[in-house]
């Protein structure tokens, strides 16, 4: 057992073949420890999203190994990867990606339902988490009736409700203004500190980087440097 939540070993990812092949990641190795708040930064197209997708088991590397909690993801089946995401990870996307026909509370509950948790506990826990992200009043509204910042907080609540080990967020602030971004970051920071949830964020936003305990700088699919905050 190590203290690493995530280990990347010489990971490459090539999109396409032949002349049109894109080397999105060119052999990166890194560790993310339990309780860290890591930002992956770098110019557009440097491979940030690709790296997050590989760690989340949404995509598989062309070569190299992705290890999450000491388990090699290449040995997982699709359903096992789904279960890993369901029980150990939370995702927040740039575009929020909420289920439009469900209320905020139901969106959050959905994850608990997939985990097989009973109705009453689901409802209580979903409302608690929404309360903790400051959305107690908006719990019964649908995504279409919420502002961008509120939607992103619902997405954070959904990612957190299953008490994940690792929260992965790909440009969560891209559609938010600076005030809302700051609020979101403070929320993430408090979760990180209170629950020890490991947080991994890909971002362009220097505002977000300020909250991290470490940044990993990517350029052209390679790690340039790692800066402890």
């Amino acid at each position: 057992m190590t203290n690493d939540v995530v280990q990347l070993r010489s990971v490459t990812r090539v999109y396409g073949q032949g002349n049109v092949a894109v080397n999105a990641l060119q052999g990166i190795s890194a560790e993310i420890n339990k309780g860290e708040f890591v930002c992956v930064v770098g110019p557009s197209g440097c491979g940030k999203s690709t790296m997050l997708h590989l760690i989340g088991g949404l995509d598989s590397p062309t070569s190299g190994t992705v290890i999450v909690e000491d388990q090699d993801l290449s040995t997982f089946t699709n359903n096992e990867l789904s279960d890993l995401r369901l029980r150990r990870m939370g995702f927040v996307f740039q575009a929020f990606n909420l289920i439009p026909v469900l209320s905020a509370c139901e969106n959050v509950e959905f994850v608990l339902q997939l985990q097989g948790i009973g109705k009453n506990e689901r409802d209580t826990r979903a409302r608690e988490v929404l309360d903790s992200v400051g959305l107690a009043d908006a719990a019964d509204r649908r995504p279409g009736e919420l502002s961008g910042g509120q939607q992103q907080r619902v997405a954070v609540a959904r990612a957190l409700v299953g008490n994940p080990l690792l929260l992965i967020a790909d440009e969560p602030s891209a559609n938010l203004d600076s005030t809302t971004t700051r609020e979101l970051c403070e929320l993430l920071q408090s979760i990180n500190r209170k629950h020890g949830t490991t947080i991994l964020i890909a971002t362009h936003d220097s505002l977000v980087m300020n909250y991290s305990t470490r940044t990993i700088q990517l350029e052209d699919g390679k790690i340039q440097q790692e800066n402890p905050a």
Binding site: H53, L58, D59, N78, L86, N97, I99, V101, L114
Partner: protein
């Protein structure tokens, strides 16, 4: 269950599309059910009418009579046979008939005709002839006859006139009878009106030396559409030299026209179903494109492929149930009044045919389990297949591509 809730709400995300699709399902169900119920409703009356002008539902006759009808090929002791038959369950009438080809003469004119001997008290329970007498009466004495209207015209015979019928008896000797015409019938069927004469069976049996024999023991049953059931109970009573035939063997043209009708209607309904299902499949494929990113999100959140597919199928089934409910509602509204009043054949331009094919004047829709289930089930199966077809693309797409998908 949350996923049924999601599925139900997803349906109403695009209200107009859902209503149009459900409406199409409902309308197809209505059309197929209307068509099938009238179709099903037309067969039994058609069989009923045609058997009552001809063969009856079942017949006992000499084994060789059907292929080569000869006077000496008869069934004997028919009065006793009849009373035994009437004791059996599901049998509501038995009438013995003697047949002979003869020459019908009046003055210098003579025409060939089929002479049928019937028991005047009994035969009306198995046939419609007594109702079709348009002039005179249906037998007024043991020495009377009723003849077809065209034959009467050809012979220039009117009610009360005597006719002479020449035929051959069981030994091949010439025999004759001279009944007086008590009635003239008009069935609307040319062949019958032109060449049929009925006389009391006692009269012709005496002349042909047939005693209590008959060529056809005609049996009417409670369930003419299921003759095999009655055949089973009757068979033990059939004499060894005789055989039992049902209307499908006796009037193959009727059972053939029913089969043809079923096939041609089946093709129409099948085509209708395929068209509706294809248009639904098209909608589903478009919907699945729009939902690519949602699919990616659900997978990323940790939902299994099969649960997502289950959700799609649930949506399809809900949409199907909605459509079928609309269809049932519409067809109930349409069929309830028609079950009582029926549709007149004249209103469909079919009255010309009615005489030729023995069609009834009105047909009434018959609703059975097949009518109720065929359209909903075939459309439902089609919709489930369409859902599979439409979602294949999502399962081929990589998760990352699904998440990045822009409409």
């Amino acid at each position: 269950m949350l996923s049924v809730k999601v599925a139900w709400r997803n349906l109403w995300r695009n209200r107009r599309r859902t209503l149009l699709t459900a409406g199409a399902v409902g309308f197809a169900v209505l059309l197929v059910q209307l068509g099938m119920s009238f179709q099903a409703g037309s067969y039994e009356p058609m069989v009923e009418v045609s058997t009552r002008f001809a063969s009856g539902h079942l017949q006992i006759q000499h084994v060789d009579y059907k292929d080569d009808p000869r006077t000496e090929r008869f069934v004997s002791n028919t009065t006793e046979l009849r009373s035994h038959l009437l004791d059996l369950p599901g049998i509501n009438a038995v009438s013995n008939r003697t047949e002979s080809f003869g020459l019908v003469n009046k003055d210098e004119r003579s025409y060939g005709a089929l002479v049928v001997g019937v028991d005047p008290q009994i035969d009306p329970s198995a046939s419609h002839f007594s109702d079709q007498v348009t002039q005179g009466t249906y037998f007024d004495s043991p020495n009377s006859a009723i003849i077809g209207s065209a034959l009467a015209r050809n012979l220039r015979v009117s009610v009360g006139d005597e006719i002479v019928i020449l035929s051959t008896d069981v030994d091949g000797s010439v025999a004759f009878i001279a009944p007086s015409v008590s009635g003239i019938f008009e069935t609307g069927n040319d062949a019958l009106d032109r060449s049929l004469v009925q006389v009391p069976r006692s009269l012709i049996n005496d002349a042909l030396m047939l005693e209590d024999s008959a060529h056809r023991v005609v049996i009417m049953i409670d369930q003419p559409m299921l003759p095999e059931q009655s055949s089973e109970v009757i068979t033990p009573l059939v004499p060894s030299t005789a055989s039992l035939l049902d209307w499908r063997e006796l009037m193959p043209e009727i059972s053939q026209s029913i089969r043809l009708d079923k096939i041609s209607n089946g093709i129409v309904y099948g085509t209708l179903t395929v068209i509706v299902v294809l248009s639904i499949a098209n909608t589903f494929v478009m919907t699945m494109f729009e939902r690519t990113r949602e699919f990616g999100t659900l997978r990323a959140v940790g939902m299994h492929n099969r649960s997502i597919f289950g959700m799609f199928i649930t949506e399809t089934i809900l949409m199907w149930m909605l459509g079928v409910a609309i269809g049932y509602l519409l067809s109930t509204c349409a069929l309830l009044p028609l079950i009582n009043i029926g549709i007149g054949m004249d209103s469909m331009g079919m009255d010309q045919f009615a005489g030729l094919l023995f069609l009834p004047d009105r047909i009434y829709p018959a609703v059975d389990l097949k009518v109720v289930l065929v359209a909903p089930i075939s459309i439902g199966v089609g919709m489930v297949l369409s859902t599979m077809l439409a979602s294949i693309r999502l399962y081929r797409l990589s998760l990352v591509d699904a998440l990045r998908y822009r409409e």
